[in-house]
Amino acid sequence: MSALSSRNWDRRSVLRATAGLAALGPLAACGGNTGREGGGSSGKSLVQYFHAYGEAGTQEAIKRYAKAYDEARVTTQWITGTNFESKLFSSLLTDNAPDVFEFHPQLQLIKSGQVAPLDDIIGPVKDDFNPADITSHTVDGKVYGVRMIDDPQFFFYRKSLLEKAGVEVPQTLEELAEAADKLTTDKVKGLFLGNNMVSTNYALVWAAGADQLNDKNEIAYHTDDVAAALKVYRRMFTSGHLLLDAPADYWDPSALVQGLTAIQWCGMWAMPVMQKALGDDLGVFPFPSAASGAKPAVYNGGWSMFVNAKGKNVDLAKEYVKWLWIDQKKYQEDWALSYGFHIPPRTSLAASATKLKSGLPAEGVKLFTEYGRFDNISWTQAMITALEEVIANSVRKGMDPEKALDAADVKVDRELKKLFG
């Protein structure tokens, strides 16, 4: 007899079934698009999060590497827009959290037990990594995260425009302000520091002879020289010589390539596109000294791969990270050099990277080696925001830098107390 016989399905049964389906509907919807569909030949699956890189071909490359992994089906979530951190942080609190994800080293993630130590996989090759990268990922002797790429950020400039205006490569922050002034015409702005100007805030602090935190994890950015440098920034902001509200932000080479600015803060990842568009009419220089006796600065950004310590497949995730970012040197080389230019964190790979051996890329590597400063793992997301607010308040809004720094101190102090007591 058919299960759908009318005798089996009286009105109450129909009602119960309807109510049950209706109740399950929203719950089913919650679990949609988890990225966990299917499984590899082994039936195991992993999810990895990546922010959207600007260089063409990167998304396909990451998916290609993942597909080559035989032990599990690896699904990639390629997160566009500017809210990668928000999406990552909130998903890490749920059952749909990624098994592996890229991010920057941050103590908060470790204190919250969200990332797993990776000493067992990185230990045997630890000496082959840039020591600064290992240090920036180490807490209490344990290494969290495997560095994938190092991304030095510095100034790119159009040689012809500087020559035409009779401007030398700036050696100090004051000279940078003067250069922006001389290079500005009715068509081209002198300098582009990014639309919200926060991309250079670390470099500004370092070039003023300060640091974010000292060795005892106390505030080290609040100095007279930093306040003075912020005043120079404010002067540049109000001068009309900065490119503001550009359609694409500092990380995109288009402002320089399209002739909107003569000097642009950007990362080495954009070098191939710039070279293709501008040929030899391109130079690089570090963030110039902003205080007497202080060294110029280059911010060594980059991305690292972390394993979600609360994930369902921690061991498998670690195996995958080891396979891709430690064993598969051909993929690491491809990832670092075939799309944008990044410096491989593995010393052996960096040494064999012929694309970085000559010309402008070699100059970029030289700046990285001489002036590069790495992330401080104790400088967490809330502190990052606090320092960005200093730029917003003192440079763009016109608040006295001392007051803006005082306001940041309150927030950073609160964070430090929570982290270190």
Binding site: L15, T18, A19, A22, A23, G25, P26, L27, T82, N83, E85, S86, F89, S90, L92, L93, Q108, L109, S112, Q114, K187, N195, N196, V198, F237, G240, L243, L244, D245, A246, P247, L260, Q381, A382, I384, T385, E388, E389, I391, A392, N393, R396, K397, G398, V410, K418
Partner: protein
């Protein structure tokens, strides 16, 4: 047990009333229909609204950083933090400024459009559609068009191109808070997106005004135009206007998309929802403080709703007038 049997046995048999069985059946049927239609939504409401609200209120008394299952009770510390650090209270000021601009301007613009379209003798449907169509556009898409095309700060941004024809220097519409040009960008995008919707509401109300009123006024010597509009049209639109103002206020409270997408890394131009987003879901990941802010905001909205009910009378029944 005998008790039940005895009680049932002694209960007088109900009188047979013609049609009573059908009425009972009808009542039960309507109850069933009620649950079929409202049950799923009620379940959704409980799961997705009431439980999160309760959870949020609970979180507001805990230190909940990078977790929604905290264990450190901090009392009213999160409330104190939200009310004293200036960011949250500043967001309430931003909302007030935004509401003070957007509510009257949208009201006037949508009413003006409705009057214009209402009086059109030809192509009325076309213009109705033209003004209504932006409502279908997402706030995010519109914000990006405004930011990257119309109000881009470079020389080929559309507004700067137009201003350039008159010799005006490029303006950084969103980067510089002095002067606060960002309000022009934010208000104009929202006006474009929502004026058409409210125009339709006013248009419906205009079509419901009896023409006899205008005829009688004309016989009494009222001049068409401003006099008729002020003494007949506007009073007849009172109920719609009240509803529109209330809807606009609610929409202003919910403002998020355009502020979030147009203003990045600023300390200004953050309405409450954006501030709470940055506190709870953004970089700070402080669900305790974010929840405290949400509770404060909820109480504030409740208070404003009660006050508007008191002063505007919206939602009161006829018998309470």
């Amino acid at each position: 047990m005998s008790t039940t049997t005895t009680r049932d046995a002694t209960r007088p048999a109900p009188a047979e009333v013609p049609g009573a069985g059908r009425r009972r059946k009808g009542v039960r049927g309507s109850t069933l229909s009620f649950w079929i239609f409202t049950g799923p939504f009620l379940i959704g409401l409980v799961i997705f609204v009431y439980i999160p609200i309760g959870w949020s209120a609970w979180l507001s008394f805990f230190e909940a950083r990078y977790t929604v299952t905290p264990d450190k009770f901090v009392g009213f510390e999160n409330y104190e933090l939200m009310l004293t650090n200036g960011d949250f209270t500043g967001s309430l000021v931003t909302f007030t400024v935004f509401a003070a601009i957007i509510v009257p301007v949208t009201w006037a613009l949508s009413l003006g459009l409705a009057l214009m379209v209402h009086r059109l003798r030809f192509m009325q449907a076309f213009f109705r559609s033209v003004f209504f169509l932006p409502t279908a556009c997402s706030f995010v898409a519109a914000s990006l068009i405004w930011k990257m095309s119309l109000f881009s700060g470079v020389r080929f941004g559309m507004m700067n191109t137009v201003l350039g024809w008159f010799g005006v220097e490029n303006i950084a519409w969103l980067a510089d808070p002095n002067p606060p040009w960002y309000w022009l960008v934010i208000v104009s995008v929202r006006l474009w997106l929502q004026a058409g919707f409210y125009m339709i509401l006013f248009l419906a109300a205009l079509q419901n005004i009896p023409p006899e009123l205008y005829e009688a006024a004309a016989i009494d010597g009222a001049r068409p135009g401003w006099q008729t509009f002020r003494h007949i049209t506007l009073p007849q639109l009172r109920a719609t206007s009240t509803a529109v103002i209330l809807l606009l206020l609610v929409a202003a409270y919910q403002a998020f998309d355009e502020f979030f997408n147009l203003l990045s890394k600023t300390t200004w131009g953050r309405p409450p929802l954006v501030e709470l987003y940055y506190t709870a879901l953004g970089d700070d990941q402080d669900y305790g403080a974010g929840s405290a802010g949400a509770v404060i905001l909820t109480l504030l909205i409740c208070m404003v709703t009660l006050l508007q009910g008191r002063f505007l009378g919206f939602g009161r029944g006829d018998d309470s007038k």
